[in-house]
């Protein structure tokens, strides 16, 4: 908890400095007040838990992003092809994905990754099972290969 709090103070201060770009005493003290109020509000709203501030995932997540980016670009290429060929080219279908994740925050990362990738959209969730709408067989097969599911599960430390 103390570690999470300290990390967030450093993080918020860093973000404030990056966004303002001013280093006069008045503006710096206003920034310190903003950070203090933000932390206080987050504590009051009980937002400083592992789910809303998943700091434990940071480094693994940063390694996951380049892979996701590649997947998204490839999926974009495929969906653009479908758009050009028109309605007859698509063959929408349901895909059921059983999340290998043990925590809600990583399951949310999987669901959001699926939605972020064009061609697949997470429609509903029940327990650890995601209901996904896929635009054609290729998009569905990509999901059924379980590659993304495995990689997101590997983000988990415990």
């Amino acid at each position: 908890m103390t570690f999470r709090l300290a990390t967030l103070v450093v993080l918020f201060s860093g973000i404030w400095l990056l966004w303002s770009g001013y280093f006069e005493p008045l503006l710096l003290s206003l920034g310190a007040v903003s950070v203090a109020i933000t932390i206080w509000l987050s504590l009051r709203m009980q937002l400083l838990d592992r789910e809303s501030a998943p700091l434990h995932l940071t480094w693994r997540f940063l390694l996951y992003v380049p892979w996701l980016l590649r997947e998204i670009l490839l999926a974009n290429w495929a969906v653009i092809g479908l758009i050009i060929r028109g309605r007859g080219a698509i063959s929408p279908r349901w895909v059921v994905v059983d999340g290998r994740q043990h925590h809600d925050e990583t399951l949310a990362i999987l669901a959001n990754s699926i939605t972020l990738t064009p061609g697949t959209v997470t429609v509903d969730v029940a327990g650890r099972t995601l209901l996904v709408h896929a635009v054609d067989a290729a998009a569905a097969d990509g999901l059924l290969s379980d590659d993304m599911n495995r990689r997101v599960a590997a983000l988990e430390v415990d």
Binding site: W19, I83, R87, R93, W94, N112, T115, L116, P118, V123
Partner: protein, 122 residues
Amino acid sequence: METAALILDILSWALLLIGSAACVLAGIGLHRFPDVYSRTHASGVSDTLGVLAILTGLLLQAPSFGVGIKLLMVLGFLWISGPTATHALVQAAWIRGIEPVLGAGPDPFHRDEDGDNTEEVQ
């Protein structure tokens, strides 16, 4: 120095054009695809490639470090809020009882208890 700036400009313009083309194609897809679920796949192209290419193109034109950081933050926010909004939209449609137009094969999730599905297809 001159040629470096020129290469940067060409790269930046190429990215801006790619992003604009992605957004136009997403718009065409919105009209071509048959239902709300498949249309979200088309809009995904502007949400991801459109946003990525246009913001990267602008990043190459950023006059200062501060502006560049803000553009990267905008990219991060849009890539998180985009799928969240898309999911909210399709889940609302699903809960409302709108059935998707599927390709060949059976539909294991078809719900027929609700007769007033307001699909705007065909």
